[in-house]
């Protein structure tokens, strides 16, 4: 008993120590005189920054954020970047309450909220929001000897609702002349957890095949039937193990499976980085937003050649003006890196996303918005 008490005392002391250290760190940051950037004389041509930048938000970006943080700190070794993947909603709340420099979010701020009044920004500042993480979602399947199939949206919807139950169904064969389809049961796999991937997939079906897909957009799989799999890796495992199975998964995570080409206009499109970036670029900007607020209303039903509209888009939101000049410099530099070709390639390598720089028009718009960040 005595030993237990003393152990507890030690643990408590240690914990207190950690808290004090953390508090001291915060205080030191706040006391830093604003507007003063200490240039590193030995650094390269690029201005060297100092300080700590905190962000929070969507967990979908966490792998990409890891790559960006590592890449950015390699360029600016006086800077610490933190990203807390608390979820989009909590991230936006933290940003409005104040205390973080930027937020990663799957759903952008609403038009009303984008105006101002965010605790993290200067009083009269509006928002800068840019798409930074674009991930094509592949309709992936496991059929021996077949690695590509043409599947129209209404056929995909019928497969996932169970109306088309065999791979040799006439509706599939009609779009795939010359492919020898096996007489095999289709085993559709969906995500059993609440997932943004499911949300984007159902949104795509609802927009492109409204007669066949009546459940609308939902992040929780809407109907009984089919196989449920947990998280992305569970989906990949189920697809890899199950002959005749079909599912939807981040394209970067399903390289060993067959990919469906989906019908866009009169052509068949496979998930590619260019197609994904293009699908964002051909969508219209949401109206009623400021110049730095680059938010797209995804046009899933686009018929633009070369676009792949079955995608997940996640945004970074920051302030146009910060109270603190150093924070402004840090956020500006970080977002410039994130949206640069180098940053986007790093995310592609680490998270399997599609670089937005694959589309020049989109890239230009995003860069112009990031330029607006200042103090």
């Amino acid at each position: 008993m005595k030993l237990g008490t003393s152990k507890r005392a030690v643990a408590a002391a240690a914990a207190t120590g950690v808290i004090w250290a953390a508090l001291a760190g915060c205080a030191a940051n706040e006391e830093q005189p604003s507007g003063e950037i200490t240039p590193n004389s030995s650094g390269p041509a690029q201005a060297q920054l100092q300080g700590e930048l905190n962000g929070a938000g969507a967990s979908s970006q966490s792998a990409a954020q890891e790559a960006w943080r590592a890449g950015f700190v390699a360029l600016q070794n006086g800077v610490t970047v933190n990203y807390d993947p608390v979820g989009s909603g909590d991230g936006r709340k933290q940003f409005t309450a104040g205390g973080i420099g930027f937020v990663g979010t799957d759903a952008p701020f609403s038009v009303e909220d984008a105006g101002g009044g965010h605790g993290s920004c200067a009083a009269d500042s509006s928002l800068v929001e840019v798409p930074v993480y674009i991930s094509p979602i592949a309709v992936a399947f496991n059929l021996e000897g077949i690695d590509s199939l043409n599947l129209a949206p209404n056929v995909i919807a019928d497969i996932f609702t169970g109306k088309i139950a065999n791979w040799n169904d006439a509706a599939i064969a009609a779009d795939n002349p010359g492919v020898e389809l096996p007489d095999l049961k289709i085993s559709p796999v969906h995500r059993s957890d609440v997932s943004g991937t499911t949300g984007n997939f159902t949104d795509y079906l609802a927009a492109t095949a409204p007669e066949a897909w009546t459940a609308g957009e939902t992040e929780e799989w809407p109907q009984a039937g089919g196989e449920g799999a947990e998280k992305t890796q569970g989906m990949v495992q189920a697809l890899t193990a199950g002959k005749g199975s079909i599912g939807y998964v981040d394209a970067g995570q399903a390289r060993d499976l067959g990919w469906a080409a989906i019908k866009v206009g009169d052509e068949w499109a496979k998930p590619t980085a260019e197609g994904a970036a293009k699908a964002v670029a051909v969508s219209s900007l949401e109206s009623g937003r400021g110049e730095g607020d680059v938010v797209y209303e995804l046009n899933r039903a686009t018929d633009a050649a070369g676009a792949y509209p079955l995608i997940l888009v996640s945004y970074l939101a920051a302030c146009e003006k910060y109270e603190d000049a150093n924070t402004a410099e840090l956020v500006s530099a970080y977002l410039k890196y994130v949206t640069s070709d180098e940053g986007q390639q790093a995310a592609a390598a680490n998270a399997g996303s599609a670089p937005l720089t694959a589309d020049a028009e989109l890239s230009a718009k995003v860069s112009a918005a990031v330029e607006r960040i200042g103090s």
Binding site: K185, V194, E227, A229, G234, G242
Partner: protein, 288 residues
């Protein structure tokens, strides 16, 4: 000692109050506020409660005989005391494997291996409700989940059985041998009746662990949360309360969270009933 007992009771009451207070908004929640597109809380909880019991019962049925067998081998049938100790140590090691590892094993090794068996069962015993319907192509079925959980509850059940077998009065054993009984007859006449309550208690402990098993089931099972089905080889399976909470909680907000806490309360109630029933049975066995 007394302080510890009171502390345990307080923790239990605290958890119960937490579940009841935070879960109660869900009991009256209507359509659109609950996860799994449920119309009301009962429609959400009933299939999941069924699934929890179903997986637990399958696991218990699969683990019961092996547990008794292993315990007998470790005590009565052990060729040398060292062998019995070795077997006990192996079982304890099995109990130390984290459930996520069992989940990975079930998902990547056991499930694919089971597919041909399920196809065979469907072809030859498809007239049974358990094996009707199309068998799963991935093997991620309720039966596979039950097998994984059976492996997980085997150590605790075997340990309980082993202890109660070891408590058989030597006089009874020697008396049985003196009457000319073989080892098996002696086991049946002397060891098993004495150990009955221990076996049942082990079963109940196992059932309790199986009811609460989360990660392994969430990883292995292909779940359809609003389904009640006796089919054990299909790709459409009822989910369990614990697995459903684990997979739904990270992205839930507001009334969905209270629904999940309410489900926790339901699981708490089921476990309570199971453990009270177990104690009753064990006591009855002991009285005889």
């Amino acid at each position: 000692m007394k302080g510890a007992a009171i502390a345990v009771a307080l923790v239990l009451v605290g958890v119960l109050v937490f579940l009841a207070v935070n879960g109660s908004p869900a009991f009256t929640a209507g359509e659109g506020e609950l996860p799994a597109h449920a119309k009301n809380f009962l429609a959400l909880a009933a299939p999941l409660a069924f699934g929890s019991l179903w997986v637990a019962v399958i696991a218990l049925a699969l683990a019961a005989l092996p547990a008794v067998g292993v315990a007998l081998a470790a005590t009565i049938y052990a060729p040398a005391p060292r062998f019995g100790r070795f077997l006990g140590a192996v079982l304890d090691l099995l109990a130390a494997v984290p459930s996520v590892v069992f989940g990975l094993w079930g998902l990547m090794v056991l499930a694919p291996v089971m597919v041909p068996l399920y196809e065979w069962l469907h072809a030859h015993a498809g007239w049974l409700p358990f094996f009707s319907g199309e068998p799963s192509v991935t093997g991620r079925t309720v039966l596979t989940a039950g097998m994984v959980v059976a492996v997980m509850i085997l150590p605790i059940m075997a340990a309980m059985c082993r202890e109660s077998f070891a408590l058989t009065p030597p006089a009874l054993i020697e008396a049985a041998y003196a009457l000319g009984a073989t080892r098996w007859e002696m086991t049946r006449a002397a060891v098993l009746p004495v150990a009955r309550s221990g076996i049942v208690a082990g079963g109940m402990l196992g059932l309790g662990r199986a009811l609460g098993e989360t990660m392994a089931v969430a990883m292995v099972l292909s779940a359809t949360p609003d389904l009640i089905s006796l089919n054990v080889i299909s790709s459409e399976n009822p989910s369990t309360i614990a697995a459903f909470i684990a997979s739904t909680f990270p992205e839930s907000t507001g009334s969905a969270v209270s629904a999940l806490i309410g489900l926790g309360l339901v699981l708490f109630a089921i476990s309570l009933v199971v453990s009270i029933a177990g104690r009753r049975i064990a006591k009855k066995g002991a009285a005889r």
